[in-house]
Structure formats: structure tokens, C-alpha cells
């Protein structure tokens, strides 16, 4: 259970943070609106990840889901950041 607790807290916040950053840059609305929407949604995302971390059949499976998601989001964020650095004021 201790492993799941750590995974839920670290993974939950990490994924919520990555998703917030990614959505802030990619949502099809003005910058301020995108950041607000993403930040408002982030806490629901975190709760969802915590539930997944505890609901998965085994710790390894939970870690795989959370880790995979984090990698996916991280890679997407890296691509988006790379493509926008030239444009941002």
C-alpha cells in the first residue's frame, strides 16, 4: 500500500501538472482562458489519477499506467514547448 500512496501523490500531482502545462499551451482559446481552464481541471485530473493508482490490479500495473501517461504528456509538452519557443513574445 505504501507504494501506491507514493505513486498516487507523486504521480497524481506530476500528471496533473504536466497536463495543466500542456493544455495551457494547446487548448484552442486565448492564452488566459486556456490557462484558467487547464488549472481548473487539474484537480479533477489529480483525483482521477489517485483513484487509478489505488484501483489498478497490482502496483506494477498502476506504476505502468501512471508512468506511461507521464511519459506521453511529458513528450507532448516537450514537442509543444519546442515548437512555440520561437514565437512567444
Amino acid at each position: 500500500m505504501a507504494g501506491r500512496v507514493v505513486l498516487a501523490i507523486g504521480g497524481g500531482y506530476g500528471i496533473a501538472g504536466l497536463a495543466t502545462a500542456l493544455l495551457s499551451l494547446t487548448l484552442p482559446m486565448s492564452r488566459a482562458e486556456a490557462v484558467t481552464t487547464a488549472t481548473l481541471a487539474s484537480f479533477a485530473i489529480m483525483v482521477g489519477i489517485v483513484v487509478v493508482a489505488f484501483a489498478a490490479r497490482s502496483l506494477a500495473r498502476a506504476a505502468a499506467i501512471v508512468g506511461g501517461l507521464a511519459l506521453l504528456l511529458g513528450a507532448a509538452l516537450w514537442l509543444v514547448m519546442g515548437s512555440t519557443t520561437g514565437f512567444t513574445p
Binding site: M1, A21, L22, L25, E33, T39, L40, F43, V51, F54
Partner: protein, 519 residues
């Protein structure tokens, strides 16, 4: 798999609830009290005389008096905040932020004379309001702790919902005559389910009030961390005007107040004056929220040295920003009239009951068998339960009592009241650790009831001559007496609680084992 999912949610619910339950209880109690923050402040300063109306001329004149006081006493400060008089609270409240490392300044002025107001020093209802999200710790620490606890609460709510098979029938189920554990479980379920929409709303919107602090990564990615720019772009605050670094003279603020009042039809609440001695000083007039759910203050910004308007913010938020301010508005319930605010208050009390009964349930479900000594873990949880659930109300009552009994000219009087609050809380928690659990609960709850009665007696004895509206003060005292009656009746129930009826019936039969229902 289905079974496993529900079990892991139940495990998460039990342990996440226990770990943060004590903090959450304090957050719920002080948050519920904060719905009546203005009333508590008024009760704690009975010297205050309300006025029928405040004219625009009085507002402008009191703003000039405020700035004169600040020029004389807070010249080096980076920011001045002036709360202007209202009919309910005809006082000018000044607050200023000094350079980092120097504590901020604070004073109350009489709007007619500009001299410090003749009023007992107290933090009033503001103390509960700030405790609600800062726990009287350094702000950063307090806000993070409360935020983490709120997230755990959100998880506990979701897992609590999942744990339930029959949420609808829980509405109507309170089995007081069965085993103690069953009764506490039902109490936890009823208080949780009955106000479930409120609990979910208040927890999520509570996190949202400090969302940018807890989850700054969107602002980091899109604004390179410039939160001021983000808030200005959403239309919630006026644009930042950085200091020029050259000295400047602030123009008279009276005319700015008059111009602001002519621009926005809402009551004017306060002035923020940034970099008051800089050539690029800014004066922002902040108005009360217009009618509606959204927590959004109309604002007019002036260039401080010339008094010309540089920006007017009034409505016109885009959908996401409007959602954000509406969530904050829902949390604070400033929009609510008397009846709705009463309903919010009752829902808050149900929240306190949900957290409190959940904590008690943990100990009741693990009650040691008769003849077996309680383990260290059980004693610890029991002590913290009692220390929080009875200790915090005792602290609140003692805080109000200190307000009436401490000498009026005592140095640092407002801080002493807070000491009394924590002193009483700690005393009850420590004293409650020694006696047998049931006696401890009975005694502590009776003490809380007695303290609330003492508050009313002290009020009538020492402050009656000061009441400007006796019916209002008597109403407040009646509410305190209702609280006292509530605590007294719980104390009585704890004392009277015997083995449940079924067990008693069994005990009446010859040769039945006594006390079987308490396991």
C-alpha cells in the same frame, strides 16, 4: 475485481480520512464560522456605532484622512490598503506592507476625526477566516497544508461515494438503537450524503481559490511564471505598473474617489495604493461585487501622481475566467441572502459532523475488547479526536470570553485573545488524555457548553451598556446559547449511552452476557 476495487477504495477512505481528519475538522469549523465573519467582528467590538448612510463626500474626506495618516506613519511602505467606511462598519481600516522582513502595519481610524478609533483591539471574525486557510501558521505553510488536506478530502469523498452501494437509502437511515458502531456509521453517512453536493462543491472550490499557488504550471508554461500578467490578462486585476525608481508626489485621493464613484455604481470597498512615493504610483479603487454568484470586484485604476484614470475593469470576463470567479464566489457565498447563508452555515455544520463522526467511527470500530488495554495507536487517535472535536470549540468559546474579560487597555490585546484561544484548546486536549474515554468526552463537552454560557454571561455583564442594537446582540447571544445547548445535550447523551436496546433486552434475559453490543 469489482470487490477488490471497492475494498481498495474503502481502505483509502478510512486511512486518508484519518490522516487529515483533524486538520479538516478545524478547517470546517472555522470556515463555517466565517460565513458570519462580519457579525462575529461586530459582536467583538461592541463600541462600534453604525450609521444610517455614508455620503460620497464622507468617503472622499475619509480617504484623504487615511492617506494623511499613512504619509505620516507609513512613508516607507511599498503598499497601502485603505478599507473605507460603510454604514455597517463606519471605520477606516489601514494596512500597509513594509519591506520584506518588517512586519506589516495596521490601524483603525475614526472617519470623522482621522484619529485612531476608540475601540477594543481584537482580530474579531478575521481570525477564524484566516485560520480557515492558514491555520495561524506562516501563510505559505498553512496554505499548502490546508490545500493538501483538501485534496485528500476530495479523494476521500470520491472513494466514500464509491464505497457506497446504497447511497439513496443512506438518506433515510439512522439506526440509533443498534450497536454503537452502526449508529456512528449511519451518522457519518447521513451527514456526508445529505449535504454531499455541498461537500463536493466546497472542497473543489476551496482548492480553486488558491489554484494558481497549488498548480502554477499552466502559468509557468504560458506566462513564464508571471502570475500578475496572467491575472491582469484574465481581467481579474488591473495591469501592473512597475515603479519608475524616481520619487513622486501622490495627488489628493479625494477627487479620485469621487471620480471612481461616478464610474461604477457599486459600493466602494477599498483603495490599494502601490509605490505611494514613486513617480509611477498607482491608486486602485476596488468596489463590492455586483449582484450575482461571481466573485469579481469592479476596479478603477488611477495614475497616482496625476489622478487620471488608466484602467476600468467592470464585468466582461470570458467564460473560463467567469467560471473561475464563480467558483470562488460559490465558496465565499457573499451573494447569499440571510436564508441562503443560513443554509450554507447548516451545510457547513453537517460537514463538521461528517468529519467528526468519521474520526469517532475509527475509534468505535476498533474499540478494545473489555478487559484488554487500549493500544498506543488507539489512545493516540482517541486523544487527538477529543482534543480537536471538543478542544477547538472550547478554544473558540475562550476566545470570545477573552474578548469580554481582558482589560481594554492591555498591551497586545488582540494577540492575547489568540493566546487564550490556543491555550484553552491545548488545555482541553491535554486534560482529556488522562481520564477513561467516556468520562473524558462527557467532561470536555460539558466544559464547552459551560464556556459558551459563560461568554453570554460575560457579554451581558460587561458590554450591555455598549450595545447599539440590543436585539441584535441578544440574537447573537441566543445563537451562542443554542451552541451551548447542543454541546450539553451531546455530553448528556454520551453519559447516558448504555448498551444498545437489543443488547439490553438480551441482558434482561437470564444468563445473558452484559455489554455485548459495544464491540
Amino acid at each position: 475485481m469489482k470487490q477488490g476495487f471497492r475494498q481498495s477504495m474503502a481502505w483509502m477512505h478510512t486511512w486518508s480520512g484519518l490522516v487529515v481528519g483533524w486538520v479538516l475538522f478545524a478547517v470546517f469549523v472555522t470556515g463555517t464560522a466565517s460565513y458570519y465573519r462580519a457579525e462575529i467582528s461586530r459582536w467583538m467590538q461592541p463600541e462600534l456605532r453604525r450609521e444610517a448612510a455614508i455620503t460620497p463626500e464622507t468617503l472622499a474626506a475619509s480617504a484623504d484622512l487615511a492617506v494623511a495618516h499613512l504619509q505620516a506613519h507609513a512613508g516607507g511602505a511599498r503598499m497601502w490598503f485603505v478599507t473605507l467606511p460603510t454604514p455597517e462598519r463606519p471605520l477606516v481600516e489601514l494596512f500597509w506592507r513594509n519591506r520584506p522582513g518588517t512586519p506589516p502595519g495596521h490601524v483603525l481610524l475614526d472617519p470623522q476625526s482621522g484619529a485612531p478609533a476608540e475601540m477594543r483591539a481584537t482580530r474579531g471574525g478575521d481570525f477564524f477566516y484566516r485560520f480557515h486557510f492558514e491555520l495561524n501558521l506562516p501563510p505559505l505553510w498553512g496554505r499548502w497544508i490546508v490545500g493538501i488536506c483538501a485534496m485528500v478530502m476530495l479523494v476521500a469523498l470520491v472513494s466514500g461515494i464509491v464505497t457506497h452501494r446504497r447511497i439513496f437509502s443512506d438518506f433515510f437511515t439512522l439506526r440509533r438503537d443498534k450497536a454503537a458502531q452502526r449508529g456512528w456509521l449511519d451518522a457519518h453517512n447521513v451527514s456526508g450524503v445529505l449535504a454531499l453536493p455541498f461537500h463536493l462543491m466546497i472542497t473543489y472550490t476551496g482548492v480553486v481559490t488558491l489554484a494558481i499557488m497549488y498548480m502554477p504550471w499552466g502559468v509557468t508554461a504560458a506566462y513564464r511564471g508571471d502570475q500578475q500578467a496572467f491575472f491582469a490578462e484574465t481581467g481579474q486585476v488591473t495591469r501592473n505598473r512597475p515603479p519608475a525608481g524616481e520619487p513622486g508626489t501622490l495627488a489628493p485621493v479625494g477627487p479620485m474617489v469621487a471620480k471612481a464613484l461616478a464610474t461604477i455604481p457599486e459600493p466602494l470597498e477599498r483603495l490599494s495604493i502601490l509605490n505611494p512615493r514613486d513617480a509611477n504610483s498607482t491608486v486602485v479603487a476596488v468596489f463590492e461585487e455586483p449582484h450575482g454568484l461571481s466573485h469579481q470586484h469592479p476596479q478603477v485604476a488611477f495614475a497616482g501622481t496625476s489622478g487620471t484614470v488608466v484602467e476600468v475593469l467592470s464585468g466582461g470576463l470570458r467564460p473560463a475566467a467567469k467560471t473561475f470567479t464563480t467558483m470562488v464566489g460559490l465558496h465565499e457565498a457573499h451573494f447569499a441572502g440571510a436564508a441562503l447563508r443560513g443554509l450554507f452555515f447548516l451545510c457547513g455544520l453537517l460537514g463538521c459532523a461528517m468529519v467528526g463522526s468519521g474520526l469517532v467511527l475509527w475509534t468505535v470500530a476498533r474499540l478494545p475488547k473489555s478487559g484488554v488495554a487500549a493500544g498506543f495507536g488507539w489512545r493516540l487517535v482517541h486523544t487527538l479526536n477529543l482534543g480537536t472535536i471538543a478542544g477547538l470549540p472550547a478554544g473558540i468559546a475562550a476566545y470570545l470570553l477573552a474578548n469580554r474579560l481582558l482589560p481594554l487597555d492591555l498591551a497586545g490585546r488582540a494577540e492575547r485573545e489568540v493566546w487564550v484561544f490556543f491555550g484553552a484548546w491545548i488545555a482541553v486536549a491535554v486534560a482529556g488524555a488522562w481520564p477513561a474515554p467516556r468520562r473524558a468526552w462527557r467532561g470536555a463537552l460539558a466544559l464547552v457548553a459551560a464556556l459558551f454560557v459563560a461568554v453570554v454571561l460575560a457579554d451581558v455583564a460587561t458590554a450591555r451598556a455598549l450595545w447599539d442594537d440590543p436585539a441584535w446582540f441578544l440574537g447573537f447571544d441566543a445563537a451562542l446559547l443554542a451552541l451551548a445547548a447542543g454541546f450539553a445535550s451531546i455530553s448528556y447523551k454520551v453519559a447516558r449511552f448504555a448498551a444498545p436496546r437489543r443488547a439490553r433486552r438480551a441482558a434482561d434475559a437470564p444468563a445473558a452476557a452484559p455489554q455485548m453490543g459495544r464491540a
